[in-house]
Amino acid sequence: MGHRMKRYSAFAVAREAARFHTGWERAWKSPEPRKTYDVIIVGAGGHGLATAYYLGRNFGITNVAILEKGWLGGGNTGRNTTIIRSNYLQDPSAAIYEKARSLYEDLSQDLNYNVMFSPRGVMMLAQTEHEVRGYLRTAHANALQGVETRFIQPDEVKKLVPIINIDGPRYPVLGALWQPRGGTARHDAVAWGYARACSDMGMDVIQKCEVTGVRQEGGKVTGVETSRGAIGCNKLGIVVAGHSGVLAEMAGFRLPIESVALQALVSEPVKPCMDVVVMANTVHGYMSQSDKGEMVIGGGADGFNNYTQRGSFHHIEETVRALIETFPMISRLKMLRQWGGIVDMTGDRSPILSKTPLENCFINCGWGTGGFKSIPGSGWGFAELMARGHSSLCEDFSMFRFREGKFIDESVAAGVAH
């Protein structure tokens, strides 16, 4: 295991400043893969790293490798709009997303790594009568679930977000579902913080190591083939988001998942003008302002299967066009960057955290367009499922729920901007 990493602190900054910053260590090691591990996690994104972290922290399982074909957090973890909220309608969703949101609150202290969690509040605009009724229902459901949200009136919306145009001709703002304890975090830092903590516990985070096959014997998983040789394991966790179908095929089962491209974009930086996250689900757009001043805008997903990490231009056009009515001041903003990520969509728009037909092989996928907010909760529950074979947070998210018709239907509740 070697020596533990030095903690980050105000004192460490002063100490390193005094010696011209020559003493900082690498945040995580890059070890060669060993022959075998107790647990292999495929995918070093937020969910995979969080799973490994809680396996070590909560269950003392540290003989773990996290394999990543690209680089740490280079997939959807680094491609989202960093929104954190838990205002879901269904009880199982509210439980896991609220667990995640509450873990985010002290994640920086827990990991000794600043993830810049900013509980600035998340507002979901109601711009049609149907949405008003839908969000009133969600607010009541959240009250029963112990998730703090409330429905606010247009004047309060305007007070919280002065740049909003509440009486647009086509989509006036009729109210909003307000979650004051939602917010944003620095997405890369979440992956980096978990990776550093995993590495510190003696786990091997192995980048540029692509899994090319799953080894099995008598219906049980025994290891994986990778671009850096075969590696054995007792338990395998597949946490690869958009590429879940590819890994499932290697493991010999199918998933109720389709992969599509979801896009986001940021504007040029401007002075602070909006200090909450606003989601406008009727018009398929959501927006927040980053610490750098950029307006971060997320849009809708393409409707066809796609693995290219780039989406269709007309979706950006639709998103921006719709947002301009609600935020007239952004009409002159230049857009700086645009990117896409491959999201794994299930039929009911709820995730899968599940055992699989292959024994000792577990899968965590299907987070679709809402993965970032759930990283700590997903890792917490999935680690418990992998360690104990059962987790109350995960039990409703089995991949076999479709067969039984036990959907956790958030597709109607959350609409597109999930």
């Binding site: 179908g245 590819v246 199918r254 998942i257 992969s259 393409d302 299967n305 693995y307 290219t308 007309h314």
Partner: protein
């Protein structure tokens, strides 16, 4: 921008003119089917990284459904063909084989 030729009206349509309709050539199951068959038909999808057959509708055009063969990892289009078939026609499969040697038409459950 994705451009597909509608085999019904012959128009080269870009994707704003089209509506995606999901995986093509699903074997349909109804009353009397087993739970496995019904689950497979309703929910399980091939979702390949590579050659994919899918349904499209020329919604802002002639309104007809058709099929397309496409690569989901490169966005290359191998061709489109009418919807009145249960498997891709020979010429489309040949074109895919020329571009993706070793590719095989998969067996459906």
């Amino acid at each position: 921008m994705l451009i597909l030729e509608c085999p019904c009206c012959g128009v080269l349509a870009d994707e704003t003119e089209l509506a995606p309709g999901g995986e093509a050539h699903l074997k349909r199951f109804g009353p009397g089917a087993s739970d496995d068959e019904f689950e497979g038909y309703l929910f399980m999808r091939e979702n390949p990284r590579g050659v994919h057959f899918e349904r499209w509708r020329h919604v802002n055009g002639c309104g007809k459904w058709f099929h397309a063969a496409r690569d989901t990892s490169t966005l290359e289009v191998f061709g489109t063909y009418p919807a009145q078939t249960t498997e891709p026609p020979r010429d489309i499969r040949d074109r895919i084989s020329a571009r993706r040697p070793g590719w095989t038409w998969r067996e459906f459950a």
